[in-house]
């Protein structure tokens, strides 16, 4: 019970903080739409290449863009955590009787909420461009989206608590996200890749997320890729949330 109340308290603080920051909201909302407007037209001409999945350019591209958004925006949470550790904000919270898990979970759920808002915006903007939405596929896609955000934010927080330094954190995030992104088939489908690259990408959980999202946007909810996506992302999300909370509960220097 305390866990739920405390999580809600922490969530509300961070959510209010995000919403009240106009530059933050501006960038958060403009960025995904910008990707959509600038990148999708390129895809139109590629979509006729053999090996490109069917279903129309937007139904291939938007699910991938959502996963990319999850990868990029949720990982940025670590920066703010490092700054707060350094400013003593986290210490101040940890000395209260509030639940340790809630202190991290509340802010993680803020990241999830922000991502869902951004995802909604992209989907909304893509419909007039040619994205087709069918229920219940699109709803499940948003559930999966939330799990991706939970996973990525927890990974980000765990890394931040481990590294404790913005510069190191930045270097690692930048060098890690690009290969993960390329090997997830977000930008170009992995079906276009040579066999060895496809073998490597099989170890990338986001590949399953992308394939599951594409199946869901095609409303193939019984597709085996949907099951794979939920199992891979859901399982990892549980592991990373627990790991990040435990590391948060221990000493924060």
């Amino acid at each position: 019970m305390t866990l739920i109340v405390d999580t809600w308290t922490v969530f509300r603080r961070y959510f209010a903080k995000s919403v009240s920051s106009i530059p933050y909201m501006g960038v958060s909302l403009a960025q995904p739409v910008l990707y959509l407007v600038l990148f999708a037209p390129l895809l139109k001409s590629v979509s006729s290449v053999p090996g490109f999945p069917g279903g129309g350019a937007y139904n291939v591209f938007v699910p991938g863009l959502l996963v990319q958004l999850g990868l990029f925006s949720a990982t940025s949470g670590g920066w703010s955590l490092i700054a707060e550790v350094k400013a003593g904000v986290i210490e101040r919270m940890r000395v209260t009787p509030s639940s340790r898990v809630a202190l991290l979970l509340g802010r993680t759920l803020r990241d999830v909420a922000m991502l869902i808002v951004q995802a909604g915006l992209i989907v909304g903007a893509a419909v007039p461009l040619g994205l087709s939405l069918r229920l219940p596929g699109v709803l499940l896609a948003f559930v999966l989206m939330a799990l991706i955000a939970l996973l990525m934010a927890s990974v980000s927080y765990a890394a931040a608590l481990l590294l404790r330094d913005e510069n190191t954190f930045g270097a690692i995030v930048f060098s890690a996200t690009l290969p993960v992104l390329l090997l997830s088939g977000v930008l170009l489908p992995m079906t276009l890749a040579p066999q060895w690259l496809q073998n490597v990408s099989a170890f990338n959980p986001l590949l399953y997320a992308v394939e599951a999202q594409r199946a869901l946007f095609a409303n193939n909810i019984g597709d085996v890729n949907v099951v794979k996506g939920f199992v891979a992302i859901g399982g990892l999300a549980i592991v990373t949330v627990v790991a990040a909370s435990r590391s948060f509960g221990r000493a924060v220097a």
Binding site: T2, R13, K86, A87, G88, V89, R92, R94, V95, V252
Partner: protein, 333 residues
């Protein structure tokens, strides 16, 4: 100087803090570093207790252990009546902690931080808002309550930090370097705030590397150096343990004669060597106030004319110098 009587308090049935053999080691590249090397400590209820030492002496590490932020490597402690190891949650409910960095988020308002802090202490929403109002008034922050903390001055921010530590009316408040980086005016103001907490019956445990602060503010203090407590007591006791009081006597051409008669007296503990052409002598006594009349009598009986007299107390820096062989002023500089 530093005592505000607190008569409305009955003697404490149990100490606010009792620590035995508290120890903390950190793993470093070359083996282990002992940040706190086993300290014993008793802090009475409703006193201002100071932890004086140079940077890196182990002050903050001790404070973080006592406030549940850092698990001790060894030893035990009762804090606010609860076992630090077995009941950290109960300890947290009864203590307030204000870290060195303060711990406010500069992009939110002072009021929002106070209300949020109250909620973290599980106050109901309405109580948390009312408590925030009270604290804003107590610490004279109403005028800026709804501005972002980033716009506050150093002194205002520090007052807010302390208000945050008091949201749940703790019995015991930890203050880590409460006045470091403040201008003299804000520092004096902060001292007043700490004293009024004391009057209200809150036990205050503070760390400082300012001698003046320890002297002016604390009922009792412990001097810590390299992870060990090297001396403890009231500021006056500590100073007296060193050299008693210093009395400087202006006796014009009669310095040698004056020293002869005075050094025969049992209450003169020591004196500085006589320099040629000296017009004054320095003697050390246990209690300056009570020794002075006797000194006057002895000098008069010896036919020596006393022109001037001055008494000074040894400073805490002398205490630190004697216990550690180093000057705290040099360390701080």
């Amino acid at each position: 100087m530093c005592y505000i009587p607190h008569m409305d308090h009955t003697p404490a049935p149990r100490p606010a803090i009792r620590a035995i053999g508290l120890r903390r080691t950190f793993k470093a590249r070359h083996g282990e570093v002992e940040a706190v090397a086993g300290i014993d400590l008793t802090v009475n209820q409703a006193e201002i207790f100071g932890f004086l030492g140079p940077n890196g002496a182990g002050k903050t590490t001790t404070l973080r252990m006592l406030s549940t932020l850092l698990p001790p490597t060894g030893g035990e402690a009762l804090v606010a009546g609860y076992d630090l190891r077995r009941a950290p949650q109960r300890v947290r409910e009864h203590i307030g902690y204000v870290g060195q960095a303060g711990g406010t988020d500069h992009s939110v308002t002072g009021r929002a931080e106070l209300v949020f802090q109250g909620r973290l202490y599980h106050l109901p929403a309405r109580t948390a808002r009312r408590r925030a109002d009270e604290l804003l008034e107590t610490f004279d922050l109403q005028g800026i309550a709804d501005r972002n903390i980033g716009t506050y001055s150093g002194g205002q921010r520090r007052r807010l930090d302390i208000a945050l530590g008091l949201v749940h009316r703790p019995d015991l408040l930890f203050l880590d370097e409460p006045t470091t980086g403040l201008d003299p005016q804000s520092r004096a103001r902060m001292w007043d705030e700490v004293r009024s907490l004391h009057v209200a019956g809150t036990t205050v445990f503070l760390t400082t590397h300012y001698l003046e602060e320890a002297d002016a503010l604390c009922d009792r203090l412990a001097i810590i150096d390299r992870g060990r407590i090297v001396a403890g007591g009231t500021p006056d006791e500590l100073k007296r343990a060193i050299a008693g009081d210093v009395i400087v006597l202006g006796v014009d051409g009669q310095a040698s004669a004056a020293l002869d008669v005075l050094s025969a007296q049992p209450f003169i503990r020591d004196h500085d060597p006589l320099t040629p052409d000296a017009s004054s002598i320095r003697v050390y006594v246990d209690h300056g106030e009570s020794s002075m009349p006797a000194i006057f009598r002895v000098l008069e009986a010896g036919g020596i004319v006393l022109k001037t007299v001055a008494m000074s107390r040894p400073s805490l820096d002398d205490v630190f110098l004697r216990e550690t062989g180093r000057s705290l002023r040099e360390e701080a500089a």
